[in-house]
Amino acid sequence: MNVNREKETTLYLGPQHPGITGNMMIKLKVKGDMVTKAETHVGYLHRAFEKLVERRNWLQSFTLMCRFCVPEPDPMELTFARAVEAIEGREVPPRGKYIRTIVAELARIQSFLLWYGGQSGSAGLYTLGQWSVGDRNYILDLFEDLTGARIYHMYMWPGGVRRDLPQGWIEKAYKTMDYLEKRLEDYNKLLFDNAVFQKRAQGVGIIPKDKAIEWGVVGAPLRGTGIKHDVRIDEPYEAYADFDFVVPTYEGGDVWARALVRRDEIKQSISIIRQALDKLPGGSYYNRIPNPMKWKVPAGEAWVKTESVRGEIGFYVVSDGGNKPRRVHLKGAAYTHGVTVLEKILPGQNIADVSFILNSLGVCPPEIER
């Protein structure tokens, strides 16, 4: 390989590389160790989920919906359930809404913890990754008690949730939240007080504030440029309107700002879960649907958005009045972050920072290909 600064060389990064969960190749043009051009290549993970659900009935689709993105399956099933409810006009009982909010926030926390591992690992700091992924297991334990599964739950259905909270679950959830809150201080010391991370993250991978909305940036990367937007506050769904929480924003638009946003958001998620557990209403958790094998959803369309850790995700769902979806189309945050935004911000960066930036944008290739 020619490392002469004058000559441009092509470098294929991926499809397997640190920084992201899933396979995606980035074709880089480099001069010395500086990137001059980047091009995203996907196609390693296409599973045709959107085609497959056209042959499955509405409830069977949920087994595929949660599998769109491995690190964060719950927002997918929540959004799809909400889209079906929006078409059908089905109400969710208050207890169902609260349980859904708790599960969605737990899913956010476990995804944040996974992100800690990826972000610190791509900077060469492996200790934090071991700790946070270990602590993530406490959240997965809660999921296992609640739904019977650790990663893919298929727990949120149209009309509510599948099961009520098991006995003793609330106390266990409180305990886990107390534990995690204490651990966050250790994480701060390991990552944010670390000179290596500070030097690597500050001023790297900058998204300009004036272009962020136009480029389609959402979620933590958008809030890292100083723009306050969060679906949970702007268009509240489930029980979010009942809780007090703030949406952290930081100026700068670099990896550092995005990391700070995520650090603060974990605390907010813990606070939301505590509030939801305090206020949890009684009554039914599920508004029963008809026989799922013969259940027909009236003709209509819905565009529904949810805030996930990687940013907002949306489902465009069309029903033609049959017992199967006519069309299901997912728009994940990674769809813009991993292609357009990445191709725009990588030129001028160092090769060593590419996977670092990828992780901070929250790129999840299975979401691009579906």
Binding site: G43, H46, I213, E214, H229, M293, G314, H329
Partner: protein
């Protein structure tokens, strides 16, 4: 006049189009295919719909049409507008809007590959997600997934007749398996 009514009025005043309210922060407007880029540009530059959420496509094979849905969002008023248009299925060509939003390029490349709709002037490799694809665009409704699987993939030797696992197991073991689906059916 609230925010939504204001937008409905402005769209009607400029383009003589009826926008319909879907819910408290969503509007739907049905547009002729030649007007799509004008409406989108107007929404972006005049009404502050800076963010293109998505471009989606639905195959209405019974009407011999494709429906394209452009979803735009306003960061100030938090309102979403869904711009719908229908194009001929036999000769699917649609105007390319990646001059208005850069990320439209990605969405259009996906639609070109999955539905076979041409967007003249679209930059980027023809292959986006699929690799060496020789068949008709796979998201079209007349693409037969079962026939494609039969043709492309081989059956595992010894498993040719194992399509119904229950039947096969009962035959092999000679035992009667309980039919839970029948037992717990509500009708």
């Amino acid at each position: 006049m609230n925010k939504l009514e204001n937008i409905i009025y402005k769209i009607k005043d400029t383009f003589h189009l009826e926008a319909k309210q879907k819910n408290e922060n969503q509007l739907r407007v049905d547009v002729d295919k030649n007007l799509v880029s004008s409406v989108l540009l107007y929404l972006k530059t005049q009404l502050g719909f800076m963010h293109l959420n998505h471009i989606s496509c639905v195959d209405w094979i019974e009407d011999n049409q494709f429906e394209l849905i452009y979803i735009v969002w306003n960061p100030e008023s938090k309102i979403t507008v869904l711009v719908h248009t229908r194009i001929d299925r036999a000769n699917p060509v649609m105007e390319n809007i990646d001059a208005i939003w850069d990320q439209a390029n990605t969405y259009e490349r996906e639609i070109r590959e999955m539905f076979g709709i041409e967007f003249p002037g679209l930059v980027g490799a023809k292959e986006f997600i699929l690799e060496d694809w020789q068949e008709m665009p796979p998201m079209r409704k007349d693409f037969d997934t079962a026939a494609y699987a039969e043709k492309t993939y081989q059956k595992r030797p010894g498993r040719e007749n194992a399509r119904d696992v229950r039947e096969e197991l009962m035959k092999r073991t000679g035992e009667e398996l309980p039919d839970f689906a029948k037992k717990y059916s509500r009708d």
